[in-house]
């Protein structure tokens, strides 16, 4: 059975465009404010959303998402709040797919089977686990499969071709191709490594390949949509909320507007 994620990506492809995937951490700027913000991403045009599980040690995140994680954790966000965010967003936006993006230790600590069960029960479509390489992922994948969750693996410009084949064989839903070597955060240019990585990845899999890391503008989205099946944007949304400086109305308007621009970008390639 095709997953919800595959269905959405296939539908975008049928429309001759790339899918738009937006990221925000849960609990940022507050649990309920975060739920509204993710809702605004979808209303603005995101097909898929990734809800971040804020972590004390976000080793793969740049300063923008680190700041958001800090705000969320200082606000007391818990795993149960992340799951509630998934549940409320999924219930309010049945056409969108809701993923969780999390470092591994919170899942490990919560209990692998329990997390998979609770995420599926909340209406989540799957997980991205950026510090869980394929070799360490057997237990998680078993639990995810049992609960009908997709596991999206990340590939990087440094991944050799043989390695790409191993990674893509283990994943489902789509493949997350990191556009640059580095942590999350907006960049002036989407690296030229991205297009090559997408091509090398496609040679190993039928799965859609979506590109993230550093994408923040309509123009970049259009450029990436020219060679990838989906465009992933995170830090740029977080930055809009930080810039609104506590004014929730302004924050929601800003992320909705950005999602709208990016949605035009993915249709313009």
């Amino acid at each position: 059975m095709a997953s919800k994620l595959s269905g959405i990506l296939a539908a975008a492809k049928a429309e001759g465009r790339a899918a738009l995937i937006g990221y925000l951490p849960a609990g940022f700027p507050s649990v309920d404010g975060g739920i509204r913000a993710v809702g605004a991403l979808i209303e603005g045009g995101c097909d898929i959303v990734e809800i971040g599980l804020p972590h004390s040690d976000p080793v793969l995140d740049g300063p923008t998402i680190q700041t958001a994680d800090d705000i969320a954790l200082r606000g007391g966000v818990r795993i149960k709040d992340v799951l509630r965010t998934v549940q409320e967003v999924a219930a309010a936006h049945p056409a969108a797919a809701v993923l969780v993006m999390t470092y591994w230790n919170p899942v490990d600590r919560y209990g692998v089977a329990r997390f998979a069960a609770d995420l599926a029960a909340a209406g989540g479509a799957g997980c991205i686990l950026p510090d869980l390489p394929v070799e360490e992922s057997v237990e998680w994948r078993k639990a995810a499969e049992e609960h009908g969750l997709d596991t999206v693996f990340v590939v990087a410009p440094s991944s050799k071709d043989r390695r790409l084949a191993e990674v893509t064989a283990a994943g489902s839903g789509f493949v997350y191709a990191a556009a640059v070597m580095g942590v999350t955060g907006s960049r002036a240019q989407v690296g030229d490594l991205a297009e090559d990585l997408v091509a090398r990845t496609r040679a190993t899999t039928e799965l859609p390949v979506c590109v993230g890391l550093g994408v923040s503008t309509r123009e970049q989205a259009a450029q990436v949509a020219g060679f990838a099946d989906g465009v992933i944007v995170g830090s740029a949304f977080v930055q809009r909320i930080l810039d609104a400086d506590g004014d929730e109305g302004a924050a929601l308007a800003a992320v909705r507007e950005l999602a709208g621009e990016l949605a035009q970008g993915v249709r313009r390639s």
Binding site: V59, G62, N105, R109, P133, S159
Partner: protein
């Protein structure tokens, strides 16, 4: 790094304990270790592992490292009988393995020189490292000066303040020191920042990890580079006393000096191995760094090990007067030694460590690092338990120069302007 000596005084026949051949091919010590890293680092970490395997079987590598350890570091480091200090330890005989006398002032140089040679073999030109007490940073900056590598050291802002002397040393040696202001602004966050740098610069850069933690092969490789401590010390104790010690004691932050001195003794079933963790204000308070005593298994900085964490898997900030022990994780091999019962881990408070620091200074004329003072405090306690006739080998992992500011504040050693001096302290 000579192999076991053929010397007839090599001591009692040793049991071959099952499991001393760890880690396995995936980097696991029992349930601990492994490789929890982002895909972007997989190729680089595999390169380190492959290059290390090649280097291990290359006699030229061993010869070059041995020469550096001898002529640059000053190995073998001496073994010192500390009789006046021992008098406070219930009459047990305490022997210090003097890693404080190595060039740069701690054990850290053993691992750094090994990895510096490896960096050159890999054709990389830039080294990054984390540091807590600054000793690993100083050793790394030293090797980069010697080999001509670019060097960037990440250090938590709290630690740049309490170990300011070492910040100056690193800069004198030509390294860039980045003060890390995220999170708890200590060692954990310095490691996070070093990983972020590595992901972005992995083509040119080797991350010269400073302890027996991190993803495979670091726990194994860093241990191997420090094994020289235990290999030398075991023979020195046998030569000096005619028998093996009753116990080997070392402080444990990430656990590198402890693994280095423990490893050679693991098959000696009669020798107790005791790691001293920083208990800060007390292991029963929230302000400590006693990871093996109070933590739970989880994943931090690339490996499965004990971690100070909450119910949601968020890391809890650690606290210790000693920057080098102020870390909420620990090397996976220690987690395994704890679970198998082969080693014991004890918490030592700030106060106990500081008292031991002063005692060694005043009875032996040796000012230890605050990290090492945790092991000394553990040895005093253990000596009193074991009583006269017992021999306790202690890893004196570093010297205390860097800690004089902290010690001066703790004991009131600075002249107060306008007041008489109060050199007695607490």
């Amino acid at each position: 790094m000579s192999e076991k000596s053929e010397n007839p005084s090599a001591g009692p026949e040793r049991d071959h304990l099952p499991g001393t051949e760890v880690p396995d091919a995936r980097g696991y010590f029992g349930a601990y270790g492994g490789r929890f890293i982002p895909e972007a680092l997989v190729a680089a970490v595999e390169q380190v592992a492959e290059e290390y395997e090649k280097a291990k079987s290359d006699p030229a590598f061993a010869a070059e490292l041995d020469a550096l350890l001898k002529d640059y570091t000053g190995r073998p480091s001496p073994l010192t009988d500390v009789r006046r200090f021992s008098a406070e330890a219930g009459g047990a005989r305490i022997l210090l393995k003097r890693e404080d006398l190595n060039h740069t002032g701690s054990h850290k140089i053993n691992n750094v020189l090994g990895q510096a040679l490896l960096t050159r073999r890999m054709g990389k030109t830039r080294i990054i490292a984390e540091t807590g007490a600054g000793q690993h940073g100083v050793a790394t900056a030293t090797a980069c000066a010697l080999f001509g590598f670019d060097c960037t050291i990440y250090m938590g802002e709290v630690d740049t303040q309490r170990q300011a002397l070492n910040v100056a040393r690193m800069r004198m040696l030509g390294a860039e020191v980045v003060s890390v202001t995220s999170g708890s602004r200590t060692l954990k966050d310095a490691i996070n920042e070093a990983f972020r740098d590595w992901v972005a610069n992995v083509d040119s850069t080797h991350y010269l990890f400073g302890t027996v933690a991190g993803p495979h092969p670091f726990p194994m490789m860093v241990r191997d580079f420090h094994r020289v401590i235990g290999i030398e010390a075991r023979q020195q104790v046998l030569d000096r006393t005619g028998r093996l010690p009753d116990a080997v004691v070392a402080c444990v932050g990430g656990g590198s000096n402890a693994m280095g001195i423990f490893h050679e003794f693991i098959p000696d079933a009669g020798v107790r191995l005791i790691g001293c963790e920083a208990a800060g204000e007390g292991a029963e308070t929230p302000r400590h760094a006693a990871t093996l005593t109070k933590g739970d298994p989880g994943v931090l900085h690339g490996s499965r090990t004990y971690v100070l964490q909450d119910e949601d898997g968020q890391t809890i900030e650690s606290h210790s007067i000693s920057a080098g022990l102020d870390y909420p994780g620990v090397g996976p091999e220690h987690a395994w030694l704890k679970d198998t019962g082969r080693a014991e881990y004890r918490p030592v408070t700030d106060d106990a460590a500081m008292q031991a620091l002063r005692l060694l200074s005043r009875t032996e004329g040796i000012i230890p690092a605050i990290e090492s003072a945790h092991a000394l405090a553990g040895a005093l306690e253990l000596g009193r338990e074991l009583g006269p006739g017992a021999t306790v080998l202690v890893s004196l992992s570093g010297r205390g120069d860097k800690d004089m500011h902290t010690a001066a504040e703790y004991f009131g050693l600075y002249d107060e302007p306008g007041a008489g001096s109060a050199h007695g302290g607490k």
